[in-house]
């Protein structure tokens, strides 16, 4: 290497490693990453114990990454570099057409079977009026936008298995996929793994129709735009520089008074606080709670107990137009006997609302099985 270029290499390299060393030391630590919607690792405790076990070193490694200066920029650049290198995905999120970032579909497997089994067991008790709404995700409905050969049929298999199980065991399974598919306009957020309120409304109508309840009309709802600057979870995992933000709509029933109690405290149907933050979808019900109880001014609508994941959150205002009382239970966070809870509320209807991805990959509904003798 010619002398002066050698010197240039040395200077550049030392500037880089000492520069970032100094910058990391100087910039104060953050506790939370809005982009990733996750807590960031704090400087770990140094004790004889954590040094001996190596826990300090392990945590320090995470700390160094979590608190790295310009962390978001580096992560975004990595996603962009992956795309430039011909990759069709980053961190499990597919670069789909029209600017969609779509979480890969989960395969149908053991978790799916256990979840179905728990529903069947509950149905066999004979004392519940059970309906199941498992929503396909964008990986299924928007398969036309996926990169070539990226489609896998795990969600399709789940829908088929549920249809079969429902026919065998006698509960109602609402395959809302067809209703969502015919919708014009945006059915899923481009930058988030959730469905849009439009898709949720189509599914809600299908559900009510299938359950034999009064079918809601669009005119009965006030449709408001909560935000037009939403960058959701799939964007957090594949932060492309040019991504367009999404708009978030809410369907609020006209002339219905609604009271929300989340985990025993006063809650909000739409929590405006979250609209100022990054995860704007969390405005619905103020995010996920173990138990969230909604009372509406609807007379004689009965009580529904809904075992759900976050897909049900944007549907909550809609369900409040059909029921006098809706109790949302998130089995990820609720670890007591869910049957006792349903009995306690005197549930007229028990509804499962979640997306096919969680149904295929997480054993949440399966937990119910443990409470059935």
């Amino acid at each position: 290497m010619e002398k002066r270029y050698g010197t240039a290499t040395i200077i550049c390299f030392l500037l880089l490693i000492f520069g970032f060393f100094a910058a990391n030391a100087a910039v104060p630590d953050k506790t939370f990453s809005d982009n990733e919607n996750a807590a960031l690792t704090a400087f770990p405790d140094i004790t004889a114990q954590t040094l001996k076990s190596g826990k300090f070193m392990e945590d320090f490694g995470e700390y160094a990454n979590d608190q790295f200066v310009l962390r978001d920029l580096f992560i975004a650049a990595k996603a962009e570099l992956e795309r430039l290198s011909g990759k069709k995905e980053n961190n499990g999120v597919l670069f789909a057409g029209d600017g969609y970032l779509i979480k890969k579909a989960e395969p149908f497997g053991r978790a799916s079977r256990l979840n179905i089994e728990a529903i069947e067991q509950m149905q066999a008790l004979g004392r519940y009026n059970i309906s199941v709404l498992v929503a396909p995700t964008a990986a299924e409905i928007e398969k036309g936008l996926l990169p070539a050969f990226a489609y896998t049929d795990g969600e399709r298999q789940l829908i088929d298995a549920l249809s079969y199980s429902a026919a065998e065991c006698g509960y109602y399974f609402c395959d809302a996929g067809g209703e969502i598919e015919v919708l014009k306009g945006q059915r899923y957020y481009r930058t988030d793994h959730h469905w849009t309120s439009d898709a949720a409304f189509a599914a809600y109508c299908a559900l009510m129709r299938g359950m034999g309840r009064e079918v809601p009309q669009r005119d009965d709802f006030e449709i408001t735009e909560l935000s037009d600057g939403f960058y959701g979870t799939t964007w957090s995992r594949a932060m492309l520089f040019g991504a367009r933000p999404d708009a978030v709509l809410a369907y609020i029933p006209k002339g219905v008074e609604i009271k929300v109690v989340s985990d025993g405290e006063h809650g909000e149907l739409i929590d405006g606080e979250y609209l100022e933050k990054k995860d704007k979808y969390a405005a619905f019900l103020g995010g996920n709670h173990a138990v969230c109880e909604i009372e509406s001014s609807i007379k004689d609508g009965g009580t529904a107990v809904v075992f759900k994941d976050s897909y049900a959150n944007c549907m909550a205002p809609m369900l409040a137009a059909s029921y006098s009382r809706v109790v949302f239970v998130d089995l990820r966070y609720y670890n007591q006997d869910p049957l006792e809870l349903a009995d306690g509320y005197g549930a007229d209807d028990v509804i499962f609302i979640c997306n096919a991805g969680t149904f295929n990959s997480e054993r949440n509904i399966a937990k119910i099985g443990a409470f059935i003798e």
Partner: protein, 465 residues
């Protein structure tokens, strides 16, 4: 600690460089020794004591062997005892679980395997100290009188956890008489950056492809997918391992050491014999110097030559991990090398280039299957799938998708496996365009940082060595 981490790059390295170059000359080895212990303790806080014991043992026995002067039997006894203790330690920490579980299944006993974890890098530093003891015994090098210098040699962080296996004779003079200089430092940086990019940008990248394909064995793995998977693994292990060696050589250079090369474009080889001359050279050299030649090498007739080859390759297999698949892997190469020695090599030399090249790549890829799959049942199923037995589809959507996603990276890896990448850089950055090399270093570090900060996948492959 591993090199491919923000902790190393932006905490350990700047602190180490600052302390090392600020320290006065006589204290430099002490700084290197202590920081190497910190580096090791970062991953193995308790086993650092074990390594210190090995250092102390090697140091004292070296002095003793030299002190015994002309007393050949005494010298041999001390050296043999030292090597035996080194090997016993290696045996206990690396092989006892394997031996006990095999005894149990063979004899139906229920002996409890000692619950020890394998200390990272133990195979590398044990082989280094053995090379020292034997070289002192052979009077190839004088014993190291300075404990700090010897400690710095064994524990030296650049080559501590993933090689190369630096023999003492290679660095004996530089340990006490090296001169750090700007030229070496700049070359060292370039080499380090190259290795970092090989590890982070290519090895980690294609490693994901191998993991995906291997995970789908028994559930949708097609023939094409199985081949794609093992091609990905072949690139992963080469770029990972040679990347580590590059980083080690580069870091050593920054501190004024000149380690020997460890890889020489092994995938361009035209025979398995040639492949092993180009792959993990320091391990091959070590086995030749300290096992093959002492056993008589090829000078005592054909039968003994083949026996010696068998011994070396059984040991080479086991060195890579305490598991039957590594034994099988060693035997596999033993057979190939014997076949080449007896007749194949002559045929290959006469064959067209592409024939011998494809033959070698196929042999090596099959070898990697044995290496990568440590469950014998799964190994059989994977190889069956590769050859279409067992009813696997020829190709399916998963294979096509992964090929379309990883295609460009695989092409880059293929180009990087030959001398092409290096000669292109050399030509592009020659003379007045030397700045290109500096720019490439900066780009490598920044791009790797992007991948390290988004630390989704960064495996360490040598935890079994």
């Amino acid at each position: 600690m591993v090199f491919s981490s923000t902790v190393f790059l932006y905490y350990f390295l700047p602190v180490t460089l600052a302390l090392y170059f600020l320290a006065p000359k006589p204290a430099k080895n002490a700084v290197l020794f202590v920081l190497s212990l910190v580096f090791y303790a970062w991953g193995e806080p308790v086993y650092v004591l074990l390594m210190l014991f090995t250092v102390l043992l090697g140091y004292l026995s070296g002095l003793a062997v030299e002190r015994l002067g002309e007393n050949e039997r005494g010298r041999r006894a001390v050296a043999a005892a030292t090597v035996a203790v080194d090997l016993i330690i290696l045996g206990i920490f690396k092989y006892s679980g394997f031996v006990v579980s095999n005894l149990n299944s063979a004899l139906g006993t229920a002996l409890a395997a000692p619950a020890v974890a394998l200390p990272i890098g133990i195979s590398f530093y044990t082989f280094q100290t053995i090379s020292y003891t034997v070289d002192v015994l052979r009077r190839k090098v004088p014993a190291q009188r300075n404990f700090i210098s010897f400690g710095a040699y064994v524990a030296m962080f650049p080559q501590l956890i993933a090689g190369p296996i630096v023999r003492y004779s290679t660095v004996a003079e530089e340990l006490d008489g090296r001169r750090e200089n700007a030229d070496d430092f700049a070359e060292g940086i370039a080499r380090f950056c190259c290795g970092l990019a090989k590890k982070v940008l290519i090895a980690n990248n294609v490693g994901l492809l191998w993991d995906t394909m291997y995970a789908s064995l028994g559930g949708g793995l097609s023939v094409a997918g199985a081949w794609l998977g093992i091609i990905a693994f072949s690139f992963q292990i080469y770029f990972d391992f040679s990347g580590y060696s590059d980083m080690a050589i580069g870091l050593g250079r920054m501190f004024g050491f000149h380690f020997l090369e460890n890889f020489d474009h092994p995938y361009v080889s035209r025979s398995v014999t040639e492949f092993w001359r180009r792959w993990h050279i320091s391990l091959g050299t070590w086995f030749r110097e300290y096992v093959y030649i002492p056993l008589g090498g090829n000078r005592r007739g054909a039968a003994k030559t083949y026996r010696n080859i068998l011994a070396v390759w059984l040991l080479t297999g086991l060195w890579h991990g305490a598991s039957w698949n590594f034994v099988l892997w060693g035997l596999y190469y033993c057979l190939l090398l014997m076949a080449e020695k007896s007749f194949l090599l002559r045929l290959l030399e006469g064959a067209p280039r592409f024939v011998s090249h494809i033959y070698t790549l196929l042999c090596v890829a099959l070898g990697w299957v044995i290496f990568a799959v440590d469950d014998i049942g799964r190994l059989g199923r994977y190889i069956k799938t590769m050859f279409g037995a067992g009813g696997a589809e020829l190709i399916n959507g998963t294979a096509l998708y992964e090929l379309s996603s990883f295609g460009p990276v695989l092409l880059i890896a293929a180009a990087g496996s030959t001398g092409l990448a290096a000669s292109l850089t050399r030509r592009a950055a020659s003379g007045r365009r030397g700045w290109i090399k500096s720019a490439l270093c900066v780009i490598c570090v920044l791009v790797c940082t992007c991948y390290l900060v988004d630390s989704a996948y960064n495996p360490f492959l040598y935890f079994r060595f």
